[in-house]
């Protein structure tokens, strides 16, 4: 590990060495993840983490300490070793596939990590599309704006208690933003989201039909990370498929509002 920086709300930004990583021709796509574990670790199974950025010789991750393995990770110091897989899964559509309309990057909690990566890539395009990051949390403490440092695009925040930015959820915020665009422009918009399942589900209900496309990055407990163990499945139109290989990013209409998923949360 190269660097461990504590963020404003208690998450950590970890920068991990990877000789194949490249800033300008990244080996990974936003929405892809890697599996990480401290090395040595008290744990058996590496934990999936969305890629927050890729630089020359490193990749970064935003790790929220929610349990023993993530606490172990954030306790590491520069120089300690980390066990890290190559980038896994299918990320968000490439910038070229986002169409001409406005792009909304909607992140909740550590779901903002892949939004940072996407924004940084959009910023680097000769003709950056118009995009906004909508970043929501319960309270201002959950909105760790320093994780988005260096991003050019506009960042709008929302908090459930109104302590920062828009008073409400980022689902409401996104709906408001689409309202402001007008139906025609909204219909050309693409929304990318990552965050708690309930939030993404609500976002699907609120905006999927009004926009060109909504892509959501799903989360499930993982072991192998490569479609072998069948541990991390989601019900899609094609049946139960591993999130780690068929996702984690799915078009929302292929995974939400299907029979049998309603009670997933």
């Amino acid at each position: 590990m190269i660097e461990n920086r504590r963020l404003s709300g208690g998450s950590h930004l970890l920068r991990v060495r990877d000789e194949h990583a490249r800033r300008d021709t990244p080996q990974s796509q936003p929405g892809q993840f890697a599996q990480l574990l401290a090395h040595p670790s008290q744990h058996l199974v590496r934990r999936p983490m969305s890629i927050h950025d890729e630089g020359d010789g490193w990749r970064s991750f935003m790790v929220k300490p929610v349990g023993p393995a993530t606490r172990e990770l954030v306790a590491l110091r520069a120089g300690d070793s980390v066990d890290m897989t190559p980038p896994l899964g299918k990320g968000f559509p490439a910038p070229g596939e986002l169409g001409e309309g406005p792009v909304f990057l909607v992140g909740g909690g550590f779901g903002v990590a892949p939004m940072h990566f996407m924004a940084r890539i959009l910023d680097g395009l000769p003709q950056a599309p118009e995009y906004r990051i909508l970043y929501g949390g319960r309270t201002r403490n959950d909105v760790e704006l320093d994780v988005l440092a260096g991003v050019n695009g506009e960042v709008l925040t929302s908090t459930d208690d109104g302590s920062l930015g828009f008073h409400g959820t980022c689902v409401d915020l996104c709906a408001t933003q689409l309202d402001a665009l007008g139906a025609a422009r909204a219909a050309r918009a693409v929304v990318l989201t990552c965050g708690p399942h309930a939030m993404m589900h609500a976002l699907h209900g609120a905006v999927a039909r009004r926009v060109h496309a909504l892509y959501a990055s799903l989360e499930e407990v993982m072991a192998c990370g490569v479609g072998v163990c069948m541990g991390c499945v989601a019900k899609t139109r094609d049946g139960w498929v591993p999130i780690c290989t068929h996702g984690p990013v799915f078009r929302s209409d292929t995974v939400f509002d299907l029979e049998g998923t309603a009670d997933h949360v």
Binding site: Q35, L37, H43, L44, V45, R46, A69, D83, E220, V221, M222, A223, C224, G225, V226, G227, V228, C229, M230, G231, C232, V233, A234, G239, W240, H264
Partner: protein, 321 residues
């Protein structure tokens, strides 16, 4: 590379394998998913994800939970079904040089008849593992197979229809005396027994205040269960004359060496593959070094003397030039 993987060949019934290191069922998919980090042709065999007569969607999520040095799973045998397996999954593995050790499971004798008959014509399948130990399904799981009589019957049913293939019976450890089941398998004509499947266990989600898994009961695997698996293999090897394939918690070459000392003919790598794709290579190197340092030719010579001499030849190996 292919030179070094052709090392310590073994025999199980009518089948022979280039080395004694297999992938465990459910931990290597249908054989190609891991190909980038673990080329299937480096394994003695790939025990495939268990297939059932019909496709199965498996259990609701969550399906996994880590525990101290262990992993709980409640996959519920999600699989494509035997038909799709034979149609879509078998050939690519064989084409890649992998050896399919096809794992099957069914709820009734009739279903076993049908599956065995479907497998019989495939010359590319040298061996079949009958999974009698899954704790994650209602019918045909470990509880149905806890009776020696049932094990013998299932075994005979499959073996009679697959005389030219190695038929291995995978046992559940969730019984008072696994030796009775192993003897029943032997009696039914099995070419090998495989021990162990996962230990029945569970976890509770404190935040939600309910069992982590919808079916409550799940299967515990990983290093935590190694000492339990070792005892089962030791006990079985002392009691039957057919080969014992050891599985359960292998995390390093030392564990494999212990299984050989306990009388195993081959071993299967499982849960630890998920986090250590180097495991196969570490095992191969560690066993080779240990065997050579003792001036032995084959790890089977490590077998301790609890195993009756008559059984020692059960998996004769022939040094390859």
């Amino acid at each position: 590379m292919s030179e070094s993987t052709r090392e310590f060949p073994i025999r199980i019934g009518p089948a022979s394998f280039q080395n004694p290191y297999f992938a465990a069922s459910g931990c290597f998919g249908y054989g190609l998913e891991y190909a980038e980090s673990i080329p299937p042709q480096e394994l003695g065999a790939v025990v495939t994800k268990t297939v059932t007569p019909l496709p199965r969607a498996g259990n609701p999520v969550p399906r996994l939970q880590e525990t101290p040095a262990g992993l709980l799973n409640s996959i519920g045998l999600q699989n494509v079904g035997i038909e799709a397996y034979l149609r879509d999954k078998l050939e690519p593995l064989v084409a890649a040089g992998g050896v399919p050790f096809v794992s099957i499971s069914a709820a009734t004798l009739d279903e076993y008849v049908r599956m065995a008959e479907m497998l019989a014509p495939y010359d590319s399948i040298p061996a079949v593992e009958v999974n009698l130990g899954c704790p994650n399904v209602d019918a045909g799981g470990d509880r149905d197979a806890a009776e020696a009589r049932a094990v013998e019957q299932f075994t005979r049913t499959v073996k009679e229809r697959l005389p030219d293939k190695a038929v291995a019976i995978k046992l559940t450890p969730n019984v008072t005396d696994i030796v009775l089941l192993a003897r029943a398998a032997e009696q039914g004509g099995a070419d090998a027994v495989v021990a162990i499947n996962t230990l029945a266990a569970m976890d509770i989600d404190l935040v939600r205040g309910r069992p982590t898994f919808e079916r409550v009961r799940a299967g515990l695997s990983g290093p935590a269960i190694f000492p339990v698996a070792l005892l089962k293999v030791w006990e079985i090897a002392a009691a039957v004359r057919i080969p014992v394939v050891a599985v359960g918690g292998i995390a390093q070459a030392e564990d494999v060496l212990k299984f050989f000392m306990a009388g195993a003919t081959a071993v299967q790598l499982g849960t630890v593959l998920f986090s250590n794709p180097e495991l196969l290579r570490q095992v191969r190197a560690g066993v080779r070094e240990f065997v050579q340092a003792r001036g032995l030719q084959h790890p089977h010579e490590l077998c301790l003397d609890h195993v009756p001499e008559s059984a020692e030849g059960r998996a004769q190996w022939t040094p390859i030039g």
